[in-house]
C-alpha cells in the first residue's frame, strides 16, 4: 500500500512543469484563494442563512449559489492536487512523506472529510427537504442549524489548517 501511494502521489511531470514555469505555483496559489472565496460565498452564505443571517432570503434562492460554491471547491481540489503531486518542486520530500508526517495537512484532509460527512447527514436526515421551502423570515429547524454551524466550522478549519501546513515543511 505504501509503495503504491508513494508512486501514485508523485507526479514528476507536474513537479517538472512547476520548476520549468515559475508562474505555475503562484498561479495555483492565486486560484486556490479564488476557490476559497467562491466556497465561502456559496456554501458559507447557505450556512449563514440557515443560522438566521439575512433571513429575508428564501432558502430555495440561496441554493442557486451552491454551484458557485461547488465550483470553488473543485478549483481548490485541482490546485491542491497540483501542490501535492508537485511537492518536489518546492521541498525535497515525497508527497507521501509530506502527507504521512504533516499533522496540519492530515487535519485539513480530515476536516474536508468531516465537511463531506456533515453534508451527507444533511441529506440523510431529510434536512435538505425541510429547509428547501423556507420563505423570507422563516427559521430553519434546530438540526439544520447545527449542521450549518458544523459546516462553517469544518470549512474554516480546512482554511486554518491549510495555512499551518508550511509550518511543518
Amino acid at each position: 500500500m505504501e509503495s503504491f501511494l508513494r508512486i501514485w502521489l508523485e507526479w514528476p511531470s507536474v513537479a517538472a512543469f512547476i520548476m520549468k514555469h515559475t508562474w505555475a505555483w503562484p498561479l495555483g496559489e492565486t486560484f486556490h484563494f479564488f476557490g476559497i472565496i467562491l466556497l465561502v460565498g456559496g456554501v458559507g452564505l447557505f450556512d449563514l442563512r440557515l443560522l438566521g443571517v439575512a433571513k429575508g432570503l428564501p432558502v430555495k434562492a440561496v441554493t442557486r449559489l451552491l454551484p458557485w460554491g461547488v465550483t470553488g471547491f473543485v478549483i481548490c481540489v485541482v490546485t491542491g492536487l497540483m501542490f501535492v503531486t508537485g511537492t518536489r518542486a518546492n521541498v525535497p520530500m515525497s508527497p507521501y512523506d509530506v502527507i504521512r508526517t504533516n499533522i496540519w495537512l492530515q487535519l485539513k484532509l480530515a476536516f474536508i472529510g468531516l465537511a463531506g460527512l456533515n453534508l451527507g447527514v444533511f441529506y440523510v436526515t431529510g434536512m435538505n427537504r425541510a429547509v428547501d421551502h423556507l420563505g423570507p423570515g422563516e427559521d430553519a429547524p434546530v438540526l439544520a442549524k447545527v449542521i450549518a454551524f458544523a459546516s462553517l466550522f469544518f470549512w474554516l478549519g480546512v482554511i486554518y489548517f491549510g495555512r499551518l501546513i508550511p509550518e511543518r515543511l
Binding site: H21, T22, W23, A24, P26, L27, E29, T30, F31, F33, F34, I36, I37, L38, L39, V40, G41, G42, G44, L45, L48, V53, A54, K55, G56, L57, P58, K60, A61, V62, R64, L65, P67, W68, T71, P136, L156, I159, Y160, R163, L164, P166, E167
Partner: protein, 203 residues
C-alpha cells in the same frame, strides 16, 4: 522615518509573532487574514453576482443584511494586515507589488460602496428586477479590483519577473474561465426559465 518603522519591525510584539514556534503566532494571524478575505470578498462577491445577473433568482434587498459580516471581514483583514505588515515593514514598504495590492483594496472598497449605493438605493424596484447599469458597472469593477488585490497578496513574496509572468498567466486563465462560466450560467438560466414556462403552461 525608517528608524521608527524599523523600531516597529523589531518590537517585542512583532518579534514574538514572527519568531514564536507556537502555531498561534504568524500562521494563525495569516489564517485570520484569510478568514477576513473569504468573508469580505466572498459575500460582497455574492452581491456582485446578483447585481451582474448571474444569479437572478436571488432577491437583492435582503442581501443588504450581509453588510455587518462584510464589514467584520474588512476589519479582521485590516487588523491582521497591519500585524503582518509590521513583521516585515522594511521589505514590504519597498515592494511595488504591496502598493498595487493596497491600491486595489482601496479601489475595491470604493467600488463596493458605489455598488451598494446604486443596487440598494433603488428601493421601489421589485426584488427580481435587474440591477441598474451603474450598479452593474461598479459590481464588475469591484470583482476586478478584488481579483487584483488577491493576486497582489499572493505575489508579494516573489521576484518581479515571476510576478509579471504570473499576472499574464492569471489574466489568460481568468478570461478562459469567464468564457466558460458565461456559457454555463446562460445555459442554466435558460433551462430554469424553460422549466418555469413548462410549469406555467401546465397550470
Amino acid at each position: 522615518m525608517w528608524e521608527f518603522l524599523d523600531a516597529i519591525e523589531n518590537s517585542g510584539f512583532s518579534s514574538y509573532i514572527r519568531e514564536t514556534p507556537s502555531v498561534l503566532g504568524y500562521s494563525t494571524v495569516l489564517a485570520l487574514h484569510t478568514f477576513g478575505m473569504a468573508f469580505l470578498v466572498g459575500l460582497s462577491g455574492v452581491i456582485a453576482l446578483r447585481v451582474l445577473g448571474a444569479v437572478p433568482q436571488l432577491p437583492l434587498a435582503p442581501l443588504k443584511a450581509l453588510q455587518p459580516i462584510i464589514v467584520a471581514g474588512f476589519w479582521l483583514n485590516a487588523i491582521t494586515g497591519l500585524i503582518l505588515t509590521s513583521l516585515a515593514i522594511h521589505s514590504l514598504l519597498t515592494n511595488w507589488d504591496f502598493y498595487v495590492k493596497l491600491a486595489a483594496i482601496a479601489a475595491a472598497i470604493v467600488a463596493l460602496q458605489k455598488m451598494r449605493h446604486y443596487a440598494f438605493g433603488e428601493t421601489t424596484a421589485p426584488d427580481d428586477a435587474p440591477a441598474s447599469p451603474r450598479a452593474r458597472f461598479w459590481a464588475g469593477a469591484m470583482l476586478l479590483f478584488w481579483g487584483i488585490a488577491v493576486l497582489g497578496g499572493r505575489l508579494t513574496a516573489y521576484a518581479t519577473n515571476i510576478r509579471i509572468e504570473t499576472g499574464r498567466a492569471v489574466i489568460v486563465a481568468v478570461i478562459l474561465l469567464l468564457v466558460a462560466a458565461r456559457y454555463v450560467v446562460r445555459r442554466v438560466n435558460r433551462t430554469s426559465a424553460a422549466n418555469v414556462d413548462n410549469v406555467e403552461a401546465r397550470v
